[in-house]
Symmetry: D2
Subunit: 412 residues, 4 copies
């Protein structure tokens, strides 16, 4: 035995084969580890499967609450969105999964950590940057970048054959012509027939949301309350359902968002490893919160704070997407983003309707919006004549610039 390795185990074909391979071909003791991020799998079956293959121990960690509170909510607070559209559901999950894996590795005295992410994707980067950041020097086993593994397993067929040969159970279910990855925040779809970017995904592929066509003909009206940028209360105005804890609140928004066909996105995005890839996502709760949060900022955030912050959203989102959640630059950026949220408190009313999230009202004890400019009166009022000076002074540069251009023209 070479010592223990903690493997991020999904229960699927790849990591099941990897588990066995680490054991038999590499001579490790394997501790299987699965993060419960709300992917709604039969985690007990998964435990048994891991044991059956040969894992010496199985950790199944319920990280759902932490995922919502410490990963999803900070992203919502930041209006994080990659390349203008992707709400980062997978990107946010990986650092948490990897962080817990490192904790287990330490506890178990493991000599290595392993994951089954492919060598062409973002997830390998997110896993490994987190491993390196949290446990410098730790040995990382990434079979899909391992020469021997790659030469033994050239495709799915090899994996299946290996599994059969080794008595690893293979799901009887027909393989779908795409791969998917669900968690609390979203489900992502990629590969297979989705690689044809001119082709619309089949309706049957979607899992978290109904088609807008099948959504109710009546609006679902809700109210979301935020405290310093975090959602703290959701109320269904129609039936008065109320949810206040991060996890239950988020699950509830997924439920009603899904029923109303909210949060589908279909994009071609840029991976950190330099290639373009097509992803389709369903993010019901995330989409609702993103829209509500932006709206509340409209009344509670100072203009210059917003414009400065907005210019940094692409960077913030890129850091998440690239797997740099645990990085010094994220630390300094979060200091700014969190500071910007101090007054983002209040509530937003929304109508959910066939794919639409419609803002229908908002209010805040921290509002900077001033109906009738009442508090301006306290400060001497808004005098339109001030605007004349404001404009004239702002125009001086433009005037100088134009006079120069004319001089240039008159010389030529």
């Amino acid at each position: 035995m070479k010592g223990k390795v903690v493997l991020a185990y999904s229960g699927g074909l790849d990591t099941s084969v990897i588990l066995h391979w680490l054991l038999e071909e590499r001579g490790y003791e394997v501790v299987a580890y699965t993060a419960d991020l709300g992917q709604r799998e039969d985690l007990e079956a998964l435990r048994e499967k891991a044991i059956g293959i040969g894992a010496s121990k199985v950790y199944i960690e319920d990280l759902r609450e932490e995922f919502v509170r410490d990963f999803i909510f900070p992203a919502i607070r930041a209006n994080a969105v990659y390349e203008g559209r992707y709400l980062l559901g997978t990107s946010l999950a990986r650092p948490l999964t990897a962080k817990k894996q490192i904790e287990i590795a330490k506890k178990e005295g493991a000599v290595a950590v392993a994951h089954g992410a492919t060598g062409k994707g973002n997830d390998q980067v997110r896993f490994e940057l987190t491993y390196h950041a949290l446990s410098p020097g730790i040995k990382i086993i990434a079979p899909w970048k391992d020469e021997e593994f790659l030469s033994e397993f050239q495709g799915r067929k090899d994996l299946i054959e290996y599994a059969k040969a080794k008595g690893i159970p293979v799901r009887a279910t027909k393989e779908e012509p795409w791969s998917s990855d669900p968690n609390l925040m979203h489900i992502s779809f990629e590969a297979g027939e989705l690689e044809d970017i001119a082709r619309r995904p089949r309706e049957s592929m979607f899992e978290m949301t109904v088609s807008s066509k099948d959504a109710p003909d009546k609006e679902t009206e809700i109210e979301i309350e935020f405290l310093k940028g975090d959602p703290v209360r959701v109320r269904n105005v129609t039936d008065d359902t109320v949810k206040e804890e991060p996890l239950s609140l988020f699950e509830y928004l997924n439920e009603i968002g899904g029923k109303n066909g909210i949060g589908r996105v279909d994009i071609v995005e840029n991976r950190f490893v330099g290639i373009k890839s097509r992803g389709v996502y369903e993010t019901p709760a995330g989409t609702i919160l993103h829209i509500a949060h932006r709206d509340l900022e409209g009344i509670t955030m100072d203009r210059e704070v917003m414009h400065l912050r907005d210019s940094l959203i692409p960077k913030f989102s890129e850091l998440i997407y690239y797997g740099l959640w645990y990085s010094p630059e994220m630390e300094v950026l979060r200091a700014l983003f969190d500071k910007s949220q101090e007054h983002v408190t209040g509530s937003v009313r929304l109508a959910l309707y066939k794919g639409n999230v419609i803002v229908i009202g908002r209010q805040s004890p921290e509002s900077l919006y001033d109906q009738g400019l009442a508090s301006m009166d306290i400060a001497g009022g808004y005098d339109p004549k001030d605007a004349a000076g404001f404009i004239k002074i702002n125009a001086l540069r433009l005037i100088s610039n134009t006079l120069r251009l004319r001089k240039d023209v008159s010389k030529s």
Copy 2:
């Protein structure tokens, strides 16, 4: 007579009174000028009204084509969106209106230009910065910032009385409890009952779009072709309608977008003059093009170009919103934005459905998306093992940082 003044004339109560006031109380000859930006008014009636009040001449300029081609399309190319949501329909119109007004003033040998925008809004800034930039030193008459005018007219009531006294026709129609401003790109609503930001706009207010509830139960499928970032062709896949000119293409998208309930936004935004204001907008064509354009960039734009450009969208949009269309900083920024569009050529298929704009496919002769990474093979292929080095090198900083943190901890 003090000379001529060119007045931006809308035909409404305010500018009608201003026309008369300039004439009678200020002693100017008044040239009325109306920009046709697609606001769908009876422009001939407006001409007669201006003459009736006393205008010595009336210019009605059809700027629709120029508006679409030189103002709306550059904004679409830039993905311009103010504070994350507003597509800038009014902001884009003002500099064009003002530019033409200055041209008329020069042609007419006018001594001044005048407008009827209020002293609390953005439009005064947009008008006047453009005047200053294009005609340094020109006299600007802005009655709503003029002490005498303000003391004479303290509200709508005073205007109506003045109009009646002077024989200026006042529209019989009941005044709506909001003000609106339509052009080709959008219609904006503000003030009146909309000042209550907790209140949802009445359905009857909307003009360009139907409610999603009243939209067809069937998707409208279209294909939009872009050339270097500009839309050059729209095809309705169902009925094979094709539009290729900027204006007709844009009007057609407004039509089918409106029918499908697309492009409503309700926000509280930050004015350049430092106050927050609630605006409701309908922007059907702009919304469709915005979404389609972003999607096409997904397959045609380099990642680093996109991320850099994305960080500058807030600035670009701010410049438009603030009325700095004609400014040196816009010039340099447009150089970058336009350069970024050189390869944004291709087409996007969309389904319009009850407020949703759903991307259902895209293709491009300039695509950087590589199904199966085929052209990577030309360049020696994508080797997953390279990713190992990539990740390790990227992790070095993180490792150093963590080792330092540990050292700090061990010392404390």
Copy 3:
């Protein structure tokens, strides 16, 4: 009496006349207030002068320590520099002066504050934005923007005549052909003969620094120690002088910097009010600290933190220059900047020599610099072969881009 006004009083001709004018022509009781920011004037004489003119009370506040600790040091921590060259000595002083003035106004129950800054400069903006931010609604009297005052006083001659007529003492000293404004951080010169931007300032103008030509022929060697970005200790290596308190440390650096001809800058800068202006500055201590601090960051700051932060220095500096020290955007930006300084601890050795500040060594307990990459070994070492993968993956985008360009060419 209309009540009290607190006047920022410098003792010079302008504010002496203003003091009298407020008293006699406006009917206020005037409380004179002078901030001691290290301008090295006879403050007792100033007090007597104010009383002599008619001030009911005089506040002379020693703000030197606070100025260094809470204004200069944060700017040093941020590497703040306006338009690449100006270290912001005046810009940093104004918000502090104005803040204390507001405190006095509150204590005195004053109805207004007044200052003598001109209507074309930056200082009026810095004073007044601070007044507004710290005391919304307070009445501000700015005679140099007051119509009556301006019509009464069209130039220096009018001020002198008024002073003579009213028995206000006028300094016998010949007026210099420029105006200057000293404080602990720097002395600034502008106007008068300096308005000729092609003309070199006279050597006799400078006050804080000798000419490099007159500086010692021997280097002065010092060591500066920083803690979390703030200088906490300066040691003269030659004579072992040690200074550890913010104020004494800063004054000492001014002294030895000045002796070595350090910190002169001559620039044309852009004022917030839209005009260009020429300024000449002497900032000995600020220059030394700026250089030393940057150097220490070189060994203690993560690369990505630095690059991100560097992109925000222009904004940070602009906020200071524009008078937005007390603003919500400064708050959020400072959160990021301060976070970035957590590890900027260590010391830098410098040689001062005839205008040059030469870094000759640095060390830090928080260093990320790794001689021989020793700690890399802990983390598995630096493997040059990793660099191959790193480069290849980074090149993928470039390869795709070039292949596309070729395709474009082959089609044309």
Copy 4:
């Protein structure tokens, strides 16, 4: 024979051994290529040495003019400076060297290109990213990342032994305890005793500049004329020497800059490969031009253009440093930077004195500086009273913010 490889050949020990190794151990025909970038070596001796070792052909390309015009000047136009201090002399040279190497490879029908840069540095990245960008799929041989080569040559000693064994001439000169790399723009020093970052470089190390202590006791006064950001004329005011061509002008500035001790920098910088490294540089001409160019921008560049551009200098410089000269993001960024230079025309007078570059005057036909605000008068003049409105409107946000904070306090 496996075909031809074009080797970037410096004539030094490393590339001489590599040349032989490629030939003997790898079986290539080797075409040696040396870029003349002004490094002042005996290039004919180098040619003979390459032939002697076995090169089938030697290209010695005089790239000096192109280096100055198309690489150094664009960096000067952009005020490019990495991490606040490094003027990028090496970073600018690599893409040019690599570009020409690719051209030769194409001309020669070579199957590969090779370089001798180490596996820990930036230069490997700059070479290889350029190779990939300009010739996708080309085979790259980088011995210092090659497993076999690395195991054969573990240090300098192995190289010397190999050289001796193979009859490769080894320079008799004592090896210096640092490595250096000179070109027209600068000489860089690193490694060896410089790795001790607390240690000051020996005076004897410097090559392009004298110590300030040994520089003349009299100022050298020069005038530099720029056209659209590029220097087009240098005049020594004292002796009336005039230089107008890019290369001769630049060499002349190196000469007089060097004599006056200008352009030394000693920093710890962040490499692209994630490690910190100490570099010492002498950049006389670059330093002078950098300072003069910045100054001229002060009078010719609009404020908002400058502030926007300044925020992008770190990115622009990073791209150069990282070897991304030939990249799509550099293309779009250069569009902005070049646009910003359209009016940067005029001249700057400088005094060079013992390490100092002192701006002593400037003038421009494109000046926006307005002595006495004369052209403002054309535009209606600068009215101080406008500033009142300007400030008040700018303060509105701050007032709102403060009123909110008070409300918060009063509630708590």
